[in-house]
Symmetry: C3
């Protein structure tokens, strides 16, 4: 099963919790066991599974990425978003989550996030669900 889910980001750098939307796609698929792949088709964004309980973890991740890959460069790309491309490559544009008993099998503290690195923008994610 394939699903496209729209996302609207509000800041340049932001983690957007997409766990609920991905879980809805899993429920639609009506399978018991499988693999769920969450994919961002954008080259200035990423997907990550990280702690959802304390929002300060999200802030720390955004700030750490900004320190490692400063927006100011130096870069050769002329669009002012080279940092976003590099963050996207480092975090990666997809994550895999297992499906068990028709639900996402996440760890106790895990949630799934869209990592916006060049917002605000209209975005989307692709979700594929494979039985097995």
């Amino acid at each position: 099963m394939f699903e496209e889910i729209p996302i609207k980001s509000k800041k340049r750098n932001e983690l957007i919790d997409i766990t609920g939307e991905v879980q809805k796609a899993v429920e639609k698929a009506k399978l018991k066991e499988g693999l769920c792949v969450v994919y961002s088709p954008h080259t200035t964004a990423a997907v990550v599974v990280t702690e959802g309980a304390d929002p300060s973890v999200q802030t720390d991740l955004i700030n750490a990425l900004n320190r490692l890959v400063p927006v100011a460069g130096p870069y050769t790309h002329r669009e002012g978003n080279s940092d976003a491309h590099i963050k996207s490559a480092i975090i990666g544009n997809s994550r895999l989550i297992f499906i068990k008993n028709s639900k996402l099998l996440l760890g106790t503290w895990e949630s799934c996030y869209f990592v916006e690195a060049d917002g605000p923008r209209q975005r989307k994610i692709f979700v594929k669900i494979i039985e097995g």
Copy 2:
């Protein structure tokens, strides 16, 4: 097929070779060709496939991550393990390995590791095997 494998880490930062355990899960699945996904359900740990021949490669990876993401911060999360959350996001919480002739298809120098970033702790990994 789905398998849960317990892991015991002994240090705060450590790479634990899980190739043998993952290979055992593949053998249990009794399929010829497929995809094996190794998943850490922890937000302060990761999974990586890297060189297994020389243990100094593991040391260098741990030290490089500590330089890039220092335990001292600055961070806003108050549990003293923000660095571990960030390392987990950067390395990623899963890896894919192909199965060929009922075995993990690893490169000559490749082994699969659990990346502990906030140990010592009792941990686990999930392994899913999909035919195809």
Copy 3:
């Protein structure tokens, strides 16, 4: 379906566009919907999906990785390529791309690259295609 594709790198650090080769493997598989996994079996290389339109994005990624993980170290591994092992772990040795209507479902600006971090060398990638 499983396919092995040879790659020849020409520089120490280089992004090599493999989108066309991966697309050919997808066409051979003759399936409509599925998952394509691109895997590097090398511990000093990686796979990434990033912008393909402006080559300066590739240059910026290579330079940013060199700043984050300098070739000079300090490292304990004696082969002079610890930086390449670390870059491989950070970017990751595989990427997933969806297949829709028998084609790779890439975003508008996305291309798939082999990330050489210790070339020039004869290399290879593994491609697996799973229906679903």
